[in-house]
């Protein structure tokens, strides 16, 4: 754990630079982003309909995809970590800020139908409302920056822990990753059956055909 924390600090230094500013870092970053954006576009995560239908539990495609991505990511990351090559940076756990921030985020997510990442992808696809969401995001982030000195002592400083699941449980991270992955795969398989059972009903009630045709 100590080695990974040192690597994490090197990866994001004090002036807020994440992953370095060298030419190689920039090029790999751009390529990583292109693949990330293309995957999100293909899976439908940048579609307003797919997100809204997911939130109403009518179409769980994106949700299942994300669960599996977390599972595979955690297996991959902690396999790398056990070899000692991962840039792991555990997010600080401040209960109040993360809960309040998440609750505010959720409303915005449902209203816009995009998240901060997928709105970028959707903007690339040409969707104009997504570009407006990005603009709203820039303003929202600016307002947060301007009010940070009030918000921080209220929501971020109190109840601030720095721990991940393996630390709290006191077991090897890779073991937790394996258990988590198994649980997620089982859950996604369950959702699959749930989805298969639900889809005809959802189709009947909305009068829409599922799949690409419902995306706009």
């Amino acid at each position: 754990m100590t080695t990974t924390l040192i690597i994490a600090q090197a990866a994001s230094d004090t002036v807020g630079i994440v992953g370095g500013t060298g030419a190689r870092a920039l090029i790999v970053g751009l390529l990583t982003g292109i693949v990330f954006g293309a995957i999100l576009q293909r899976v439908g995560a940048s579609s307003f309909e797919m997100i809204v239908n997911m939130l109403q539990l009518k179409d769980l495609t994106v949700m299942k995809f994300f669960f599996l991505a977390v599972a595979i990511g955690s297996l991959g990351i902690y396999t790398l970590d056990s070899v000692g090559t991962a840039h792991i940076g555990i997010a600080p756990l401040y209960l109040l800020g993360i809960t309040v921030g998440g609750l505010i985020f959720g409303v915005g997510w449902a209203v816009s139908g995009y998240c901060p990442g997928t709105s970028l992808v959707a903007m690339g696809e040409g969707k104009i409302d997504a570009a407006i969401t990005v603009f709203g995001g820039l303003v929202g982030a600016l307002v947060l920056a301007l009010t940070w000195d009030w918000i921080k002592p209220l929501l971020v400083d109190p109840l601030n822990f720095n721990a991940n699941l393996p630390d709290v449980l006191g077991v090897k991270p890779l073991l937790v990753a394996v258990v988590l992955t198994t649980a997620i795969v089982a859950f996604v398989m369950y959702l699959d059956r749930f989805d298969a059972g639900r889809k005809p009903a959802a189709r009947g009630s909305t009068g829409e055909t599922p799949g690409p045709a419902t995306r706009s």
Binding site: I88, V100, D149
Partner: protein, 156 residues
């Protein structure tokens, strides 16, 4: 596939994330307009003054969305999603106001929490951070009822 990409990112430079770039771009824009806020504001002063790996990931996401849509013939310049139009009408200003408000709330919330769906849930939870799981639960706690309230089909 996304899981593998996430693993690749953590193996090379760091975890994927989107929301920090909004503050970074705010910082760049303020600097461009000669504002001193980037040095006086406690939050903005912590942002990078030059392009870094994560910023390029954000830029790449726009390009990736464009390329994937171009190649598969799904480029789409619509302003109002069909599902939105079926519930609230085809008015562009109405949809734009909602899209703006949604983006505003998301980034305001995400920056309080320290990340968004990519940084805290996708990457955070994969790194087994409790913050990631807590944030994931919180966003669904309000997003699901809000979506249900907003987009529920009127009984017909």
């Amino acid at each position: 596939m996304l899981g593998l990409l996430n693993t690749f990112a953590v193996a090379t430079y760091g975890a994927l994330g989107a929301s920090r770039n909004y503050v970074a771009v705010d910082g760049f824009l303020l600097r461009l307009f000669g504002s001193s806020l980037t040095s006086t504001n406690s939050y903005l002063s912590g942002m990078p003054s030059q392009a870094d790996w994560l910023l390029m990931v954000g830029l790449g996401m726009i390009v990736g969305g464009f390329l994937a849509a171009l190649i598969t013939g799904t480029l789409n310049t619509r302003a109002v999603p069909r599902l939105w139009a079926s519930r609230f009408g085809a008015s562009k200003p109405k949809r734009f106001a909602a899209a703006f408000a949604g983006g505003f709330l998301m980034l305001f919330g995400a920056r309080i929490a320290g990340g968004c769906t990519s940084g805290l849930v996708l990457s955070g939870a994969a790194q087994l951070s409790i913050a990631g799981f807590l944030f994931g639960a919180s966003i669904f706690a309000t997003a699901m009822p809000t979506a249900r309230f907003l987009y529920r089909k009127k009984a017909s």
